[in-house]
């Protein structure tokens, strides 16, 4: 078991992560401080939450491009409602989750009922969801967000205060993401549902023959990513204190990049929650190092693009190594 881990994708990623951290800390003193590390953990928890959802989708062999739209719509609806009525954060999460699940159901319905490729469907629903939100919402941005939203992100699970300095600690946001990660891991490992998701990703035909309830599984998967997107969106509002229709919209690529970086394959059936988290942290690490090195933010897309290309190239290379030449030909 131990040997398997040492050879695994996750371990390699961990090594790269550590190696990269060492490199960066050499260049910039500010990197390896507790403050910075916990800050990275905090700001990456939104992408982390979403990435876990996307990972579950990719595990089943599908892909979801509509989750940023779901997140955006969810956070808008949730905040709008709570602007009018008294409420608390729990309700915020609840409303966002409900909408996220509902939109996820739409995806699930289209994918299951009509058996159309997930890439194209979610490309379409992304536009539908986002467009509907923008059309129906008279004022799509919200700047006056009830205060309990951002209070949430300022809290810590445990913390300490430097002498005369800022408070550092494990943010509630990070904790939430880690909790979701653990729940997902438990689900995948210890329930038939989880095995079913792996099964669909491994061999859909066999899963049908084995008697898995494909419809239930598909609905769960896409509702789950909808749910997580909803939760992540409230985390986001909590952090940035406003709702803006376009902020989350370009995230698809970054999140998918993180998930693929973490070891999931497009075809489905492989990958782990740990790998996904490592992938997310890797991306944030790189972004953070760019900031510390004073490289302007418009370099971000280039770097992310290079990362995606590099990581998918490495993944593809490893897959090639695994298959012997003849087996590739006889595929």
């Amino acid at each position: 078991m131990r040997r398997a881990f040492l050879r695994s994708h996750e371990f390699v990623l961990l090594l790269i992560l550590i190696g990269f951290s060492v490199l960066v800390s050499v260049v910039s003193r500010a990197f390896f401080t507790a403050e910075n590390i916990f800050d990275i953990l905090k700001s990456s928890s939104i992408m982390g939450t979403m990435a876990i959802g996307v990972f579950v989708v990719m595990l089943s062999g599908g892909i979801d491009l509509s989750f940023p739209a779901i997140a955006t719509a969810s956070m808008y609806v949730s905040v709008r409602i709570l602007q009018r009525f008294h409420g608390n954060l729990l309700l915020a999460f609840l409303f966002a989750s409900v909408l996220g699940v509902a939109l996820g159901c739409v995806n699930a319905f289209l994918i299951h009922r009509f058996k159309i490729p997930t890439l194209i469907v979610t490309l379409g629903t992304a536009s539908i969801f986002h467009g509907t939100y923008l059309t129906l919402a008279k004022v799509p941005h919200i700047y006056s967000v009830p205060p309990y939203f951002f209070e949430f992100s300022t809290k810590f699970i445990f913390s300490w205060t430097k002498k005369g300095g800022p408070t550092i600690g494990l943010s509630t946001l990070t904790f939430m993401m880690l909790a979701i990660a653990v729940v997902t891991w438990l689900l995948l490992r210890f329930t038939m549902l989880g095995k079913g998701i792996y099964a669909i990703g491994g061999n859909m035909e066999a899963a049908k023959r084995a008697g898995f309830n494909i419809m239930k599984l598909q609905f769960f998967i896409y509702c789950y990513v909808g749910l997580l997107s909803g939760l992540a969106s409230i985390q986001y509002v909590s952090l940035v204190r406003h709702v803006h229709p376009y902020n989350l919209m370009g995230m698809q690529l970054d999140v998918i990049a993180a998930v693929v970086l973490g070891g999931a394959s497009l075809a489905g059936g492989t990958g782990t929650v740990l790998g996904t988290l490592l992938g997310v942290w890797m991306i944030y690490l790189i972004r953070n190092s760019l900031i510390l090195m004073r490289i302007p933010s418009y370099w971000d897309p280039v770097v992310i693009g290079l990362i995606i290309v590099a990581s998918t190239a490495i993944n593809a290379y490893r897959m090639q190594l695994r298959k012997s030449e003849v087996r590739t030909i006889n595929a």
Partner: protein, 363 residues
């Protein structure tokens, strides 16, 4: 062969059945729009506007078609358009105003904030200008072709799945464009250059001529050349293609190269129509291009599809888009409709063969 005539007849029937569907769809959409808004839809300005805007999208759709036929997809076409547009715009400005403007300061100006050549700049003219325009177009195609080649290499040599490869290059091209321009636009191109996208030849909009040429080229290329044939083969069954002695790697690379070259043409058409280029222009074309290609009968796995179908899809889509303009739908609502249409088109594409088979089985 005695059965040759019957097979020819059968093929003709099948083709005309397909074409009939396209023609009917076209007429229906046209009729609906003409009835709803006769004065504005059928107005000269509107038809002209459609005729000018359609070509840039049409060429992009053709580019996407070539990529999807090979069993892949190219998600980077829109940012490829931006990048090649930006680079060629810079080249154009450098050459056209080269005499009267310091290029270095021009570049710095671009990097600082969007650029237009200073009012004092005097562009070259005459034959020299023609040469410069030609060079600009070639530059655009060279850059887009290189981008396409990169895609091709990643897909063919490194063997990254096309979705992921072009997802990455999409970001990369966006990023490079951002680094060059910081997101600001480049505008005010010399008039002779703008002719490509805004001029008319014998009362026909020049871009439409360009589009027609591209369509003819792609059609002949796909149906009548060995490379076109090979693209269909690789899309249908890459293993069998390899076993038949075809060089999958080189075929795929050339596929994405061709896509890239077409993207370059689209880029020129785009910037010469709106007289500016900026990162993010034409982003909505990506989804529409995918939709149009699927409408044209290309399955997501490649191996089949006709140019005729895609062209009809292009026509129908642009008419609908023009209709949106007239009715005054907001951009966002349009996105809703595009998204819904994509879903609908895909459903129809997948559901129809299944229904047809069921009907056949019953008979």
């Amino acid at each position: 062969m005695p059965s040759d005539t019957s097979s020819r007849k059968r093929r003709a029937v099948a083709l005309s059945a397909r074409s009939a569907t396209y023609i009917i769809a076209f007429i229906v959409v046209f009729a609906v729009l003409a009835i709803l808004q006769p004065t504005r839809f059928l107005s000269r300005t509107n038809i002209q506007q459609m005729a000018f805007q359609l070509p840039e999208f049409g060429v992009l759709a053709l580019a996407m078609m070539v990529a999807m036929l090979s069993g892949g997809i190219d998600l980077s076409i829109t940012f490829n358009t931006n990048l090649s547009g930006i680079v060629s715009a810079l080249v154009l400005l450098a050459l056209a105003y080269g005499g009267s403007v310091d290029f270095k300061s021009l570049l710095q100006g671009i990097m600082a904030e969007g650029v237009a050549p200073p009012a004092t700049a005097i562009p070259s003219a005459g034959i020299a200008m023609l040469g410069i325009v030609l060079l600009t177009v070639l530059t655009a195609m060279a850059v887009s072709g290189l981008c396409g080649l990169l895609n091709g290499m990643l897909v063919a040599k490194v063997k990254i799945p096309p979705i992921l490869a072009t997802l990455g290059t999409m970001k990369l091209y966006e990023g490079i464009s951002l680094v060059i321009t910081r997101g600001s636009p480049i505008t005010n191109f010399p008039k002779p250059f703008l002719f490509i996208g805004s001029g008319t030849l014998l009362h026909i909009p020049f871009p439409l001529i360009v589009f027609a040429v591209c369509t003819a080229f792609v059609s002949v290329f796909l149906r009548r050349t060995p490379l076109g044939f090979s693209i269909y083969a690789v899309g249908e069954n890459p293993v069998a293609a390899r076993f038949s002695g075809l060089h999958n790697e080189s075929i795929l690379m050339k596929t994405y190269l061709v896509t890239g070259l077409l993207v370059g043409v689209a880029a020129v058409l785009m910037i010469t129509r709106v007289d500016s280029v900026k990162v993010g222009y034409g982003n909505s074309y990506l989804l529409q291009a995918v939709m149009v290609v699927i409408l044209g009968g290309v399955s997501d796995r490649g191996g089949s599809g006709t140019v005729l179908g895609v062209v009809f899809g292009i026509l129908i889509l642009r008419m609908i888009s023009s209709g949106f303009n007239i009715i005054g739908f907001s951009n966002d609502f349009r996105n809703v409709i595009w998204g819904s249409m994509l879903v609908l088109v895909t459903i129809v594409n997948y559901a129809v063969p299944v229904i047809a088979e069921r009907l056949k089985a019953r008979r």
